[in-house]
Subunit: 433 residues, 2 copies
């Protein structure tokens, strides 16, 4: 019995490792198209910044580790050209065919070029693989560019802008939409815009880019460009084999991570997941979700029956000194989903003044009729991570505001004020219901 | 219609302020026995440490503020001698009688002397009122004591020990029980013991103190003593008026904060609350809970119908550089409550190594049969507050481990590892179910 996994980063290796734990006798083979596996792409901005010194600090495990410690065969440089599910085999680009009994597709995603002309130029970079990171950092060190344009104000774009600014470059971020971080949220966009401005980064919203010139993008002069206009799921290989994609364009899976083909699972950035607030499939490619999906896909591919319920859309990004965090739906998104949203935004100290408490802003969104909490954002230099996670847990539990308002949160002056900003925001919002 | 509130600190003033918001026409009178109202007793350890320079930095609002901004009469130095509920009046110690239509009892708690002989000596201190804090700091500054004994290893005792140690004193903590922080939790006790040791504070468990001598307590030499052996609810005044106390000794209230006497409410450190994990009344005097109870008591005293569901027993205390946080039940406590507890403790980095991630320990306790999460502890220098709050929210929601394990927590290297320590602990514990 052979489990074949296509893709050796987060989801693929989580699947392989979990399958091994469930079934010590399974043969497990992981095919990775690149030269390294198990790396933290999320760490690339900090390699660009220089905080991570060597790119190999971002590699968690080696193929050798998997062979030795987990009895898992990891083959790098093995790009799959086609999946022939009727014969239960994949064809590698080199011509070799590999049989499988169970298959996990974890082919990930790729930076979206978004129809932009000129992306192949040597001064244009993406931040997906370790090679991408090395190439950009080499350029920064050797060519000493002075002006950068970042295309896209999603989390990778903001992290790249932050990293380049810290290295002293003048940075302009061009975002095609009217908001940042892929969230239709005016308040959050304002917070991020101010924060970028404060640190000398220019953000232009509604800036549609059609071409990258050698010395400019749109009207922004630059000598280096980072393309971070979102991710597109690598779902083509699966589609050609008859694996169905959902409306998001990513691979459709059930809550066992199985596709429409029996014994074929998908996980990670190539697949959809369920958004637990809307109850609908969503495409939110993130490392944490990829790992969780991978675990469940691997367990089930090894014969277990586990499920992955879905996500609530939590994310956090550091923008200079602040954590910018969001989860669930913004008010505008909630309206589009058929809720009757009402929201409140407060600003309050994150902890006692004599412990250097800094302002934290919290916005909560709830449904007017039911009081159900639908989403929230937290922005600030202290504790944005912990506070967004409390909102996320409340979304998982489908809490209403009355329950949320009474949460027994930890208090002590070094950590929080006696009324936590989360509870102040909830009190404020309850008045508007 | 007059609402009378006995007690002008957390619960009493929350009640008064909320009643005013609910009913602009109500006459509201607050009687406070002390000279100041609305102070943060929780800040006293940091005044002792010297971080808070002036004691009045711990005063949030003045009686004048309440009169001017809220139309609430706050009378300081007004100690109530008796409540005559049949006549709807209270008698002050000075002989004056004050009528009420509705009454909120927020008489707080007092340090428990625990039958110890010699607590009246001038080198013995408590840390409850601002005067207590001033008296101790004056002693430290003027007499320059070199050795301190702290009686009690609850949160006030640990905070006092920390503060005195930071001021250079040799500190011994004597705890009568076999554990710290009032939690029957061997793991937590070990963590705190090590932390204290590391910073030169000696902790002696099972150290029953019967008398304080002028130069020693038990065998520990000292020239200053802080008594922090727990709190006792000020429920006597209420009891004499026919207000029922619960088995904990604190005033019994329903979920509207009403006592057995109609129109008489109680809130804060003098009252019980419901422990949402056990479903039973508990006495857990804390500032946050006092404020929440006060709000609900005030709203209902003003004619609203609100409820306070209860607490899950969350607390956090800073011990030197670490946050020591707990919520819900320990395994030993869960067993006593009739659960079949199983627990797992892990240690893991709080964030990426290149962001200075430090070890965080997480213990989770769940019920074997149902998988229901029952409690947890988090200890570490980074994010213990945020992580304990996620566990607390999960306890409010009665989550089981499978739900908890899939929480969509925020990830980005500056804030967390890709597998949050909370989720690693949950994975570990699921294997033991």
């Amino acid at each position: 019995m052979r489990l074949l996994v296509i893709g050796g980063v987060a989801a693929g290796l989580s699947a392989a490792a979990r399958a091994r734990r469930k079934d010590p006798s399974l043969e497990i083979v992981v095919l990775e198209k690149g030269a390294v596996v198990s790396y933290s792409a999320c760490g690339l901005p900090y390699f660009i910044e220089g905080r991570v010194r060597q790119v190999d600090e971002l590699v968690v495990y080696t193929p050798e580790y998997f062979r030795r410690e987990r009895n898992i065969t990891v083959r790098t440089g093995s790009r799959v050209a086609a999946i022939a599910h009727a014969r239960r085999e994949v064809a590698l680009e080199c011509g070799e065919r590999v049989h499988y009994d169970r298959l996990v597709i974890a082919t990930g995603a790729r930076p979206c070029a978004d129809g932009i002309v000129g992306v192949e130029q040597p001064h244009v970079f993406t931040l997906q693989t370790l090679e991408d990171g090395e190439r950009l950092r080499r350029c920064l060190e050797e060519k000493r560019p002075r002006r950068a344009v970042v295309i896209g104000a999603g989390y990778i774009g903001l992290e790249a802008a932050d990293a380049l600014r810290r290295r002293g470059l003048a940075v302009t971020v061009l975002e095609r939409g009217p908001w940042v971080l892929g969230r239709d949220d005016a308040g959050l966009t304002k917070t991020v815009t101010r924060l970028l401005e404060l640190h000398g980064v220019e953000l232009r919203l509604n800036a549609r880019v059609s071409a990258i010139e050698p010395d400019r993008v749109a009207e922004a002069r630059c000598d280096v460009v980072v393309l971070a206009a979102g991710l597109r799921p690598n779902a083509e290989l699966a589609a050609e084999a008859g694996v169905q994609a959902g409306r998001t364009g990513a691979i459709q899976v059930d809550d066992r991570m199985e596709t429409n083909l029996r014994g074929v699972f998908a996980a990670g950035d190539c697949a959809e997941t369920c958004h637990l607030v809307t109850g609908r499939p969503a495409y939110i490619p993130l490392g944490t979700t990829a790992n969780k999906m991978g675990r469940v896909a691997g367990a089930n591919a090894a014969g277990a029956r586990e499920r992955f319920a879905g996500v609530v859309g939590t994310s956090i990004v550091r923008v200079f000194d602040a954590g910018i965090a969001s989860t669930g739906l913004s008010a505008a998104e909630a309206r589009r989903e058929g809720f009757d949203p009402v929201s409140a935004r407060i600003e309050s100290a994150a902890r006692a003044g004599y412990f250097g408490g800094r302002p934290t802003s919290v916005e909560l969104v709830a449904d007017r009729g039911t009081g159900r909490l639908l989403g929230g954002t937290v922005a600030g230099e202290q504790g944005a991570d912990g506070r967004i996670n409390v909102i996320a847990a409340a979304l998982h539990a489908r809490m209403n505001l009355e329950q949320f308002e009474q949460l027994d949160l930890a208090y002590s002056p070094p950590f929080a004020p006696v009324w936590d900003p989360l509870l102040i925001a909830a009190q404020q919002l309850i008045r508007l219901l």
